[in-house]
């Protein structure tokens, strides 16, 4: 009888709290929108299931070594890759091996839109400071505005490891919600005439340019912002594997098997890190609010900067301001959103390739911004 009672004390039913149930519902919601609505399923299914794994209640601190925050547990070992910032550079390697920079190379001025959208990071940093977070926490929260999950995790792991779960969940949730968050802002800030602007077709980019770009870009950005070396180094290395033409096997592994494995580990552990006992705090709620705000500011600043650029551009060199919204990195979702809004305004206006320019520039811009935050706030 005593054994049975002891066993009952160990069950999830005995240890459940309202927090666990709320988080389980959040996990189920993530899985639902991933499968039903097809919102970032490759991220939201692992994260959603990770939330379920992390929120099955059990008796803590009795040596079971089950929880993600308990030393020696399997989940704790897997979480090591998040805490030490190992997974994000590996994800960047895969992203680099998938990314085609020709859209950016064919129209280099679009790189400025990728820079403009990073305003969201720094305005959110100010917002976080105003709400009482300390400098390092504010920096880690601000990076959500970069709309780049791996960068957000990388920076949070360095600046505010205790907030990593909330920041990662906020970053990935809003990335999945890009098709919901961005369109109203884009419509609000552009006129019908501006949405109808057709952009000049892109020029053909030579193979030499594509090979030289990752080397050039890495050297320049890393010399300016060495804090971004782990991210940009892997991004451009992956891209060189793709473009060199002599490392197809490596490039292929980086963009398929490797990135898939790391995505699974990252998604599940980030999800599991949202254990109700440590995750459901007023701070987490504030981070969610600030995250949404940063996405909106980033989108708005990209669009407004595109309009500003148009003041200096003439004739068919004018750019469609919608592509400014793709400056938030969320690759390639924000570019797809631009394409959809552009086609709705004019069914013959294909903006996807033009939007990919600011989109990949946004990845570079957010990694540079991350390096600056590390240098200033850790130094």
């Amino acid at each position: 009888m005593e054994g049975l009672l002891k066993f009952i004390h160990f069950t999830g039913f005995y240890n459940v709290t309202p927090g666990h149930l709320i988080m389980i519902l959040v996990g189920l919601f993530f899985i639902f929108i991933a499968i039903k609505k097809d919102y970032e399923p490759l991220l939201l299914v692992p994260i959603g299931f990770g939330i379920l794994i992390g929120n099955i209640p059990f008796l803590e601190n009795v040596g079971l070594q089950l929880g993600i925050y308990e030393d020696g547990s399997v989940m704790n070992y897997l979480y090591f890759g998040v805490l030490k910032g190992i997974y994000p550079p590996l994800i960047f390697l895969g992203i680099g091996a998938m990314t085609d920079f020709s859209a950016l190379l064919s129209n280099p001025k679009l790189v400025l839109l990728g820079a403009a959208a990073q305003v969201g990071i720094f305005i959110t940093l100010l917002g976080a400071l105003a709400l009482g977070f300390n400098g390092q926490e504010a920096g880690a929260i601000g990076i959500i505005g970069g709309a780049d999950g791996p960068t957000a995790i990388f920076i949070a792991s360095k600046l505010a490891p205790h907030l990593i779960g909330a920041i990662a969940i906020a970053a990935y949730s809003y990335m999945a919600l890009v098709p919901v968050i961005q369109p109203p802002i884009m419509r609000l800030l552009t006129t019908k005439e501006e949405r109808l602007i057709h952009m000049k077709p892109s020029r053909v980019v030579s193979k030499v340019e594509k090979i030289v770009f990752p080397i050039f870009a890495f050297m320049i950005t890393a010399f300016i912002s060495p804090g971004s070396i782990p991210l940009l180094g892997m991004l451009f290395f992956g891209n060189l594997l793709k473009e060199s033409g002599v490392t197809d096997r490596l490039g292929n592994t980086a963009r398929t098997s490797l990135v898939d494995i790391v995505t699974i580990l990252l998604g599940v552990t980030v999800g599991a890190s949202t254990q109700a006992t440590t995750f459901l705090t007023p701070q987490s709620m504030l981070i969610f609010l600030l995250g949404a705000f940063s996405f909106m500011v980033a989108t708005a600043s990209g669009v407004l900067f595109a309009k500003f650029m148009n003041l200096f551009l003439k004739g068919d060199n004018k750019i469609n301001p919608l592509i400014g919204a793709a400056g938030v990195s969320a690759v390639p979702d924000s570019a797809r959103v631009v394409q959809n809004i552009g086609v709705k305004a004019d069914s013959s206006n294909y903006l996807l390739m033009h939007a990919m320019g600011p989109n990949v520039a946004g990845v570079i811009g957010s990694a540079v911004a991350a390096g600056i935050l590390l240098a200033v706030l850790l130094g």
Binding site: L105, P108, K109, V111, L112, G114, A115, Q118, V119, I121, F122, I123, L125, L126, L129, A130, N134, G135, A138, G139, K200, P201, S202, R203, V204, S206, V208, E209, V212, F213, F216, A217, I220, T221, I224, S225, Y350, M353, A361, I364, G365, V368, A369, I372, L373, V376, L377
Partner: protein, 121 residues
């Protein structure tokens, strides 16, 4: 007081951050422009090295027309989605059960013609 100091620090970081992000991407932009310029001026063109490889009507830096881009996109899309006329190479045997009917009877379809076997030799 501390909050004001913190906000001041935030403004400083913001201004510094935005300036550095912009300047690094602008340097990147101009260095790539310079590289393309030097490549055009001093680099060997593809045409000189292998004239046969160039596609007629598409010059080095001439923008592609919308029709060409859409035709290429459609071809890539169809190729990725496997919209082609190959069928799956899986053969399945499904047992067909059909009730007997004289109308579909095979025996009635056979012509009763005699074969002169002597001619077959």
């Amino acid at each position: 007081m501390i909050e004001t100091k913190l906000l001041g620090m935030g403004v400083n970081i913001g201004v510094l951050g935005i300036s550095v992000v912009f300047s690094s991407l602008i340097i990147l932009l101009y260095s790539m422009k310079l590289f393309v310029f030097l490549l055009k001026r001093y680099g060997k063109t593809v045409e000189k090295k292998a004239p046969g490889l160039l596609i007629k009507g598409v010059e080095g830096n001439e923008p592609l027309s919308g029709e060409i881009v859409s035709a290429i996109s459609l071809a890539i899309h169809m190729s990725h989605e496997e919209y082609h006329d190959l069928e799956r190479a899986i053969i399945t045997f499904n047992r067909m059960t059909r009730p007997y009917s004289p109308w579909s009877s095979k025996i009635h379809a056979i012509q009763y013609t005699t074969i002169d076997r002597t001619k077959m030799r």
